[in-house]
């Protein structure tokens, strides 16, 4: 199956694009997707991010389906500083 992966902010810059398509085995989870990117940018603070699947925040153990949209979200910083 294939999922679309989007990334934003500092991750977009670090990965040099704004999306990928990943080919995954059936039963793949959010963790599986994260492992791909951990390898690509090992020094990034991966513990700080959140993941959305089809625009809803999702846990690491969520099982993906063909056509899912997976977004890697660095800590958000909308609005204005204190």
């Amino acid at each position: 199956m294939r999922v679309r992966v989007l990334y934003f902010g500092v991750l977009r810059e670090r990965l040099g694009g704004d999306q990928d398509f990943l080919e995954l085995t059936d039963g793949a989870t959010v963790t599986g997707v994260l492992n791909v990117y951990r390898e690509r940018v090992p020094e990034f603070a991966w513990d700080s991010i959140a993941v959305a699947v089809n625009q809803e925040y999702a846990r690491a153990e969520v099982v993906l389906r063909d056509g899912d949209e997976v977004a890697l979200l660095p800590p958000v910083s909308g609005g204005v500083e204190g």
Binding site: R2, L6, F8, G9, V10, R12, E13, R14, G16, G17, D18, Q19, D20, F21, L22, E23, L24, T25, G27, A28, T29, V30, T31, G32, V33, L34, N35, V36, E43, F44, A45, W46, D47, S48, I49, A50, V51, A52, Q55, E56, Y57, R59, A60, E61, A71, L73, P74, P75, V76, S77, G78, G79, V80, E81, G82
Partner: protein, 203 residues
Amino acid sequence: MRIEITDDVIPAAEIAEEIKAGADGAVCVFDGIVRDNTRGRKTLYLDYEAYREMALEKMRALAEESLEKFGVRDVALVHRLGRLYVGETSVLIVVASAHRGAAFDACRWLIDTLKKTVPIWKKEQFVDGAIWADGEPFPSDIGLPKSSEAKAQSADGEPSPDAIGLVGGRGEDSGRPADDAHISESRYGAPGFARDEKLEAGE
């Protein structure tokens, strides 16, 4: 409810005016504007970006929740994206209510929660470099478990490398040259940029 993500100037006065109705005793406005410095470092402009569809949906959900949680009558929630200069409005929150207490409380809750949960990011351009604002840590019901916990999970039988590889094209940004030298100062990659020198978050 007026919930928007816009690339244009936010007409703050107009939005605050049009929300008023006869039943209201209070309109509380939070006008978030670009400040000229962060901890003394001079700011030139901010670049905002969003996971647009999700951000708009999250803003709608927050506005709905605020009506229920605080019993206010109506809410406007507008965020601007793109390049904003000092003094410009990046986020506008307007709450209309019969009584001031609920209006203040809802307004405060909306900006605080937006900053933690709505997928919008900003990069600050200073006179001497640029940095992605840190943001606050995600609330525990949103963030992922730390990698130590994740590893424990895979030891318990989580199927491991389930990804086979990258296929297909990159996004439209693909192939562009590396960003200019300023960007290398992002705290995630810059040598010597101490992690504890993070931008202050929170109102």
